[in-house]
């Protein structure tokens, strides 16, 4: 039986109270095994980001449990987060600080010992050594994304959340980044949760994918099995079917 890094049970998030209450997550459950790349797919508002934000401790759920590394996440948050990290297209680093200063700050926040060597290695891996002393506010969107990816690997995480990690990268760099993450994942048995709107990327990267629909999980399976199940030729069509609203969660429960 695989060793589960993540166990999510009945995770629910409701914003507001009474008549104004909006449900973002309706009680989802899933597990992610060690070394697995687990994709979360869904149209806007399906609950992908909400799930990731709860898993990284930025959002408190209304109910449900999250166990990471076999520990209750909400009781051991700081300890668990030293072995986790996140890269998202929706956050920035301190604008007035240089690339190196930002990475140094995060190296300390994550308790990295030999941070100088680590930072140099990451800048080299992501082919941005020339940006070392540039201020963040002077970088392009693609350059910022690569710095964010560097930050996400600063602590050699065992569990990584990647929220649309290649969103603003050109195809060549995006391909390089994907290959790099695949290599790191194989070398270190890194566990990854991955969201993207780039379906070929999802197909290439993910071992299993959860289809999220209106805050609930419609189905979890390998990309190939999902295509077979929905009788479509590729993940692009899986997504279109999911986004069209034709799939109901009852369908999956049957």
């Amino acid at each position: 039986m695989p060793n589960n890094i993540l166990e999510v049970k009945n995770l629910k998030k409701v914003y507001g109270k009474g008549k104004k209450a909006t449900q973002a997550l309706g009680g989802i459950s899933f597990d992610v095994a060690e070394g697995e790349i687990f994709g979360i797919l869904g149209p806007n508002g399906a609950g992908k980001s909400t799930t990731l934000h709860i898993l990284i401790g930025l959002l408190t759920p209304s109910s449900g449990s999250v166990r990471i590394f076999d520990k209750n996440f909400f009781e051991h948050e700081e300890e668990i987060k030293t072995k986790m990290n996140i890269a998202t297209a929706y956050a920035e680093l301190a604008q007035n600080l240089t690339v190196y200063q930002n990475l140094k700050v995060f190296a300390h926040l994550y308790g990295v010992k030999d941070y100088k060597q680590k930072i140099e290695n990451l800048l080299e891996q992501f082919q941005i050594t020339d940006l070392r002393n540039e201020r963040i506010d002077r970088l392009s969107a693609g350059q910022k994304t690569r710095i964010n990816l560097c930050k996400s690997l600063i602590n050699d995480p065992e569990f990584l959340l990647l929220d649309e990690p290649t969103a603003s990268l050109d195809p060549a760099i995006a391909a390089h980044v994907r290959t790099m993450f695949r290599e790191i994942q194989k070398e270190r048995k890194l566990t990854i949760i991955f969201t993207s709107h780039n379906m070929p990327e999802v197909e290439q990267m993910c071992d299993r994918v959860a289809l999220l629909n209106k805050g609930n999980i419609y189905k979890i399976d390998t990309p190939k099995n999902l295509q077979q199940f929905l009788e479509v030729p590729n993940m692009e069509e899986v997504f279109i079917k999911l986004a069209s609203g034709d799939l109901t969660n009852e369908e999956h429960n049957d």
Binding site: Y15, E78, A94, Q101
Partner: protein
């Protein structure tokens, strides 16, 4: 568990900001200098009117102590706003940094920034106007320490409001403390105030601090045990209240996802 390396990381982030940002340098040096020059020159004029001995020292001292409390509370809140403006709150609070480490970090950060400003102001006021804040000896240190505690408390209370209502309330980082400016007896005795306003002023420790400070400078009278006791008790109350509201605000911010969309 509190980790010193994470606190150091937090301090480093804001130290680099001071070095890089003109706004932060203006906060530390420019405005305090303008205030000191304005009030310093005013006291030179008052001196020429041959008023009571010590009035100028009381005014300059009051100004420096007020600059302390103002800067301390502002620095606590601005350190939070800085990451909200940068959209960096997401990365900061998805790291293992705990609320306890943030609190300790902001205490140390405000101390460093205020010590830079105060040292600068003390040197300037001594050089330009021959005024030495510590001319009355060690009791002044007691006031300075208590000014720090109240500044921290007020900063945490202000930050808790930012956690709860977002950056649309960001102006309170500079303005909320101003409510206490006219009623704390910084430049004039509390009995100048209408009775009802003096009663309100009595709820805040800085009123007793400024009143006692003036008594030392003007009459050489040191505060009695009761006044010292009131200052300490009120300060402890506000500090505990500030920390409580800050932690509560932090939890509220996590519930509504403010670290993700800091508006």
């Amino acid at each position: 568990m509190i980790k010193t390396q994470r606190i150091y990381g937090f301090l480093l982030r804001h130290w680099y900001e001071i070095l890089a940002s003109m706004d932060r340098k203006v906060d530390i040096f420019f405005w305090p200098t303008i205030d000191l020059l304005t009030f310093g020159l005013l006291t030179v004029y008052i001196d020429k009117l041959n008023m009571q001995v010590g009035v100028t020292a009381a005014m300059l001292g009051g100004l420096i102590l007020w600059t302390l409390v103002y800067n301390i509370q502002r620095d606590i809140t601005v350190s939070l706003l800085e990451d909200a403006w940068s959209r960096n709150l997401y990365n900061i609070f998805s790291s293992p940094l705990s609320i306890g480490e943030v609190i300790i970090g902001t205490l140390i950060l405000s101390m460093i920034k205020v010590l830079i400003t105060t040292t600068f102001l003390l040197l300037l006021s001594w050089k330009l106007f021959g005024f030495n804040l510590f001319q009355s000896g060690l009791p002044i240190l007691f006031f300075v320490l208590n000014i720090f505690v109240f500044g921290w408390a007020f900063g945490y209370i202000t930050s808790s409001l930012i956690f709860r209502f977002g950056t649309r309330l960001q102006n309170i980082a500079w303005s909320l403390i101003a409510v206490l400016y006219p009623i704390s007896g910084i430049f004039y005795p509390l009995d100048t105030l209408p009775l009802w306003l003096a009663k309100i002023a009595g709820l805040f420790p800085i009123s007793y601090i400024f009143e006692s400070f003036r008594a030392i400078i003007l009459r050489g009278e040191f505060p009695d045990t009761k006044t010292v006791f009131i200052i300490v008790i009120l300060n402890l109350f506000y500090f505990a209240l500030g920390i409580y509201l800050y932690i509560k605000g932090f939890k509220h911010a996590k519930k509504r996802g403010w670290f993700i969309h800091p508006s």
